[in-house]
């Protein structure tokens, strides 16, 4: 079993979830400039993690069913987050407080290992994302992401995928057809 589902099961078995929350489309899970004190697990639906750049919004990452999600910069540093998290469609998440989660992780070496495994996977994913960003050809960026996470194209609306790929929706349409 992978680290994510194992962590979820352990938290579930210890009844550590504080509550479930249902977000309507476009509702915020975390706001820009807030200090993150929660960790979330996506039960259903999907979310986007974004940063604002002047008037433009850049999508940094998506959260799908079966993922953990949080404003990670703030979760780790304790400082206000540069990101916000918004539901793309009606989304249900389970909530655990950062404090409860950190004591859960400290509970035993196995939990610590799982958290480390998950963070390592995240680092690898972020490095792939950094390669995306440094890939200048839109076509190559599109093909990298198509190969890496095909499910994106069935779960996330076109305009959000275009934003994630840093291209105009029209460019993405053209690439999809080619």
């Amino acid at each position: 079993m992978n680290a994510v589902s194992e962590l979820y099961n352990r938290i579930e078995n210890l009844h550590l979830w504080e509550k479930s929350v249902v977000l309507e489309r476009n509702q915020y899970l975390a706001e820009y400039g807030a200090v993150e004190k929660k960790l979330y697990y996506v039960v259903s639906g999907s979310l986007k993690v974004c940063m604002r750049d002047g008037k433009e919004e850049h999508i940094v990452r998506f959260g799908y069913q079966g993922d953990f999600i949080t404003a990670l910069d703030s979760f780790i540093s304790g400082k206000p987050s540069d990101f916000y998290i918004q539901a793309i469609k009606r989304t249900e998440v389970k909530v655990i407080s950062k404090a409860a989660y950190l004591s859960f992780v400290a509970l035993n070496p196995a939990n610590r290992q799982l958290w480390q495994d998950m963070l390592e996977q995240l680092v690898l994913q972020q490095l792939e994302r950094e390669k995306d960003m440094l890939t200048s050809s839109p076509k190559d960026r599109y093909q990298r992401v198509l190969k890496r996470s095909p499910q994106l194209f069935q779960q996330i609306p076109h305009k959000h995928i275009a934003s994630y790929l840093r291209m105009a929706p029209e460019t993405l349409s053209r690439l999809k057809k080619s």
Binding site: Y64, L146, P150, Q151, F153, Q154, Q155, K176
Partner: protein, 178 residues
């Protein structure tokens, strides 16, 4: 847009060829069937067993979706973005390109006897019937699950292409061992 008649004729033709080739493997001595290439990789029986494992998933899945569909037949099929991508990536290239497999689908190191060939032929006969049955439905609007991801569904026409092009891929691989 693809003409349904042409597509199903192509896929049925390939499937008949696959049956024919595997029939001819039955004449070979067990040593030949089990011989692994010096450079590493699967034996003939391992190639066929790998296809059987996918068949175990796809034959009942496709059958179920065709039976439960209430769609009227259509003479054209429109491939989906992902389905088209997966189908094309299955087709063997000039120099056979290596792909990763899933552990549960890797037959290496399991005890295999020539009965895997009979099982393959049985499955392909069923697949021929399903190709025939799929004329009575809409290859674009009927969707099937796939074995590799819970989160992706493909159009029936794409699933048939993926499965049969994947068969082709490994039948070509097996033939190269002779």
């Amino acid at each position: 847009m693809i003409n349904v008649e042409e597509l199903l004729t192509e896929l049925a033709g390939l499937t008949r060829q696959h049956i024919h080739t595997v029939q001819s493997f039955k004449q070979l001595p067990p040593e030949t069937l089990n011989r692994k290439p010096a450079a590493g990789g699967w034996s003939i029986l391992e190639c066929v067993e790998h296809l059987n494992r996918y068949g175990d998933f796809y034959v009942p899945e496709i059958e179920l979706r065709i039976q439960n569909s209430k769609r009227r037949p259509s003479t054209v099929f429109k491939p989906g973005l992902l389905g088209n991508y997966f189908a094309k990536s299955m087709l063997p290239k000039e120099r056979l390109n290596k792909m990763k497999t899933f552990k549960s689908m890797d037959p290496a190191d399991s005890a295999l006897d020539p009965s895997v060939l009979d099982k393959f032929i049985d499955q392909q006969e069923q697949l021929l019937q399903l190709l025939e049955a799929s004329r009575q439905t809409d290859l674009t609007r009927v969707k099937t699950s796939i074995s590799i991801s819970k989160w992706i569904k493909l159009r029936l026409g794409d699933t048939l292409r993926v499965v049969i092009y994947h068969n082709l891929r490994h039948i070509v691989q097996a033939q190269k061992l002779l």
